[in-house]
C-alpha cells in the first residue's frame, strides 16, 4: 500500500471511529439530564435507574472517545507534519478552547458518575448538564477547526508564506457555522435514532416494557426534532458549499459539465473515466435551485475546474446519495412518529413503527459517516482548500501501511468489545435496573 494512501486511510479510520463515540458522548448526557430531571421531579425510581443505565453506556463511550481523541491530537502530527507546521498556529484557537471544554467535560463526568448519594441532588443534575454542554461545545470547536480546512481564513498566503496570522478570524471562518450546525443535528439524529431503536427492539420483545418505553420516548423526541431540522441545515450547507467549494458540489452531484439550469441527479452510476453518469433520475433545474435558490441559475461543473484539482467524484457522489437518502427516510419516520403522538395512539400497538425505529439503529450513523466522507473526500486533493495539497503534507516516514494495519486491528477489536459490552448492559437491565416490577405492572 502506498504510504500516502495508507496515511489517508488511517486518518479516515481514526476519525470515522472517533466521530461515533464523540457523538454519543455529546448527545447522551442530554437524554440522561431529561431522565434525571424527571426522577427528581416525580420521584419515579424507574427514571433514576434509566439514568444510571444510560450513564454506564456513556462511561464506556466517553472513555473510548477520549482515548481515540487523544490519538487524533497526535495523529495530526504523526501523519501530516507539514500541514501542522503551518496550520497549527492558525487553526489552533478552537483546539485550545476545546482542550478546556473537554477538560471540564471530564471533570463533570467524574462528578456525575461517582456523585450518586454524595452530592446535593441538584448539583449532581447540574454536573450532568455540564457534561452535555461542554461536550457539545467541544464538538462545535473541533468542527470549526475542520471548517477552516475547507474554508481557510485568518492569514495571507504570499509566495508560499503564511503571513498576518489571526487565529480568531481563522476560527470564525465562513464554514464554521454551517458545518457545526449540520454536525450537531446529525449527532442528535444519529444517536437519538440508535438509542430509540435499541429500546424499541426491547419493547417489541416485551422485555421491561415500561422501562424501555420511557427511554424510547426521550431518545425518539430528540432524534425526530433533529431529523426534521436537518434538511434545513443541509440546504444552508449546500448553498454555502456551492459558493465556497464549487468542485465539491460538482463532485457531490457528479456534475461533469457546467449547466444552466442544472438538474439534480438521484442515484446513478458514475464512470470516472468517461466522466459520465448512467441510470440516474434527473430532476430538471433542481440543483440550480438547491445551490443558488433559483431554478434557472448556472451551476459550475467539473469542466471549469483544472483536472488536477478534481476530488474523487464517484465516492463523493455515492456518499452524498447515501446521506440524503437516509436523511429523507429518517425525516419520514419522524413525521410519522409525531403524527402518532398527536393522535395520542399507543406506541405498543404500532409495532410497525417500532420496527421502523429498529431498522434505523445503524442508519443515522451511516448517514453521519457518509456526510463526513462528502466533506473530507470532497475537499481533496487539498488539505487546506486551495492552499496546500494533502499529498504535500504527508509524513516522510515510510511504512505507514503497517501502522494502518495495526490501528485497523485495534479499532476493529475495540468496536467488537464495545458492542459486546453494550449487549451485556442491555441484557442485564432486568437484573440491574428494572427488577421485574415494570413487567408485573404491565401484566396485572
Amino acid at each position: 500500500m502506498d504510504d500516502f494512501i495508507a496515511a489517508r486511510s488511517q486518518m479516515a479510520l481514526s476519525l470515522g471511529f472517533h466521530i461515533i463515540f464523540s457523538c454519543i458522548g455529546m448527545v447522551m448526557p442530554f437524554f440522561m439530564a431529561v431522565s434525571h430531571y424527571k426522577w427528581l421531579k416525580t420521584n419515579d425510581e424507574m427514571y433514576k435507574n434509566l439514568t444510571k443505565a444510560w450513564s454506564k453506556g456513556v462511561a464506556i463511550f466517553f472513555a473510548t472517545g477520549a482515548v481515540s481523541g487523544t490519538m487524533l491530537s497526535f495523529e495530526l502530527g504523526l501523519l501530516w507534519p507539514k500541514f501542522m507546521d503551518h496550520a497549527g498556529p492558525i487553526f489552533g484557537m478552537p483546539f485550545s478552547l476545546e482542550g478546556t471544554a473537554f477538560f471540564i467535560e471530564a471533570i463533570a463526568l467524574g462528578f456525575f458518575l461517582y456523585g450518586w448519594n454524595k452530592l446535593n441532588k441538584w448539583f449532581h443534575w447540574f454536573t450532568g448538564m455540564v457534561v452535555g454542554v461542554s461536550g457539545l461545545a467541544s464538538g462545535i470547536l473541533v468542527v470549526a477547526a475542520n471548517a477552516w480546512m475547507n474554508s481557510p481564513a485568518g492569514f495571507d498566503f504570499v509566495n508560499g508564506q503564511y503571513l498576518n496570522i489571526d487565529p480568531i478570524q481563522a476560527m470564525f471562518n465562513k464554514a464554521w457555522f454551517t458545518q457545526a450546525l449540520h454536525m450537531c443535528l446529525a449527532a442528535f439524529t444519529a444517536t437519538g435514532f440508535a438509542v430509540a431503536g435499541v429500546h424499541a427492539l426491547m419493547i417489541l420483545r416485551d422485555r421491561n416494557t415500561y422501562f424501555h418505553l420511557k427511554a424510547f420516548k426521550i431518545a425518539a423526541v430528540f432524534a425526530c426534532i433533529a431529523a426534521l431540522l436537518q434538511p434545513l441545515s443541509g440546504d444552508i450547507s449546500a448553498k454555502d458549499v456551492a459558493k465556497r467549494q464549487p468542485a465539491k458540489l460538482a463532485a457531490m452531484e457528479a456534475l461533469y459539465k457546467t449547466e444552466k439550469p442544472a438538474p439534480l441527479l438521484i442515484g446513478g452510476i458514475v464512470n470516472e473515466k468517461d466522466k459520465s453518469v448512467t441510470g440516474a433520475i434527473k430532476i430538471p433545474g433542481a440543483l440550480s435551485f438547491l445551490a443558488h435558490g433559483n431554478f434557472k441559475a448556472e451551476v459550475k461543473g467539473l469542466d471549469q475546474i483544472p483536472e488536477n484539482e478534481h476530488p474523487p467524484v464517484a465516492i463523493t457522489h455515492y456518499a452524498f446519495q447515501i446521506m440524503v437518502g437516509i436523511g429523507t427516510l429518517l425525516l419520514f419516520i419522524s413525521l410519522t412518529y409525531f403524527f402518532t403522538l398527536l393522535k395520542k395512539k399507543s406506541l405498543i400497538e404500532k409495532r410497525w413503527l417500532l420496527k421502523l425505529f429498529v431498522l434505523a439503529i445503524p442508519l443515522g450513523y451511516l448517514a453521519l459517516e457518509a456526510g463526513w466522507v462528502v466533506t473530507e473526500v470532497g475537499r481533496q486533493p487539498w488539505i487546506i482548500y486551495g492552499i496546500m495539497r494533502t499529498r504535500d503534507a504527508v509524513t516522510p516516514m515510510p511504512g505507514i501501511a503497517y501502522s494502518f494495519y495495526i490501528f485497523t486491528a485495534i479499532y476493529l477489536s475495540l468496536s467488537i468489545i464495545v458492542t459486546f459490552l453494550l449487549y451485556r448492559q442491555i441484557k442485564m437491565v432486568p437484573v440491574l435496573y428494572d427488577k421485574v416490577e415494570s413487567n408485573t405492572h404491565l401484566h396485572s
Partner: protein, 369 residues
Amino acid sequence: MIKSNPILICIAKYEQHEANLINQYNQNTGVIILNMKEVVITFLCMAILLYFLLGGADFGAGIIELFTSTKNRSRTRKTMYHAIGPVWEANHMWLIIAIVILFVGFPFIYTTMSVYLHIPLAIMLIGIIARGTAFVFRHYDAVKDDMQWLYNRIFRYSSFITALFLGIIAGSLISGHIDAQATDFYTAYISGWLNWFSVAVGFFTVSLCGFLAAIYLIGETTETHDKRRFIKKAMFMNVAAVVFGAMVFVAAQRDKIPLIDWVFKSQVGLSAIILASLSLMLLWYLLIKGKTKVLRILAGFQVTMILLAISYAHFPNFIRLKSGDSISLLETAGPDKTIYSLGLALLLGSVLILPFLGYLFYKFQKKEE
C-alpha cells in the same frame, strides 16, 4: 508646497501622531505578548509536570498491580478503583493540554517530535488506548466473568508499556540522538529513541510511576494490612527508581550526554537534586514510622525536583538534535497573535477548570478517620 499648505501640515501632523500611537500600542502589546509567551510556556511546563505526577500515578497503579501477588491483586484493584475512578479521566487531560499547547504554539517542536519519534509515540498511543479502555471496560462490564481476566491483563501490561515509552520519548528529546539530517530509515526513525539513555529513562519513569502510585494508594486505604502492603511497594519502587536513576547516569556517560554537568554544575540543578535527596530521606523515615499524611506531597515534590534537575540546564531548549543544535521553546514559538490568543484561552480555561477540578479531588478524597 507641502510645508506651505496648512491642511496638509495638519494631516501630516495627525499621521505622525497616529503613527506614534500605533507605535506605542505595538510596544505595549509587545510587552503583553512577551509575557504571554512566558504564560504559555509556564502552562506547558505545568501540564507536563501534572501529567507526569497524576497520569504517572495512574500508570503506576497498573504497574503496581503487575507486581502484586495474585492473592492480593483484587484488593489492590479495589483500592485503586476507589482512589482513581472519579479523577482518572481528568488526570489524562493534562496530556491533551500539553500536546495542544505544543501544536498551536510551538508547531516546529510538535512536528519534529511527530516525525522522528513516530514509532515510540505510536506505541505510547496504543498503550493509552489499551489501558484507558480496559480500565473502563473491566469496571463497566455488566457481567463479571472470564472477560475480566483479559481486561486486567491488558490494563497491567499496557500501563507498563505506556509509562516506559513516555519515559523513552522524554529521554529521546534531550538525548541528542534525534538526527534531522538522517538519510536512512534506522538513523532517522529508530536510533533517535532506541538508545541506552532513552531506554534507561524509560525504566526510570516506570519505577517513578509505580512509586507515585504506591504512595497515593497508601492514603486511600484504611486497612492496616493493605497499608503495610502499599508501604512495602512504595519502598520497592523507590529502590528501583534509585537503581534505574543510577543507570540513567551510566547510560548518559556511555552516550556522551552531559547529564552530570546539567545536574551538578548548575546551581538550580544541584539544589534540586539535594532537595530531592533530603525529601527522599524524610520520606523513608516517615514510611518506616508509618506516618502517611505528608507522603503524597513529599513524593510529588521529589519527582518535581528530579524533573527540574534534569531539565533546567537546557531550558528553554526542548529538543536536542544530533547536529548539536537545539530547538528552543522561545525561538520557535508561533506568531505573536497565536501565542496571545493561546495564552488567553489557557488563562480563561484555568479559571474554569482549576476550581472545578480542585473540588472534584476534594469531594472524592478518602477521609482519614
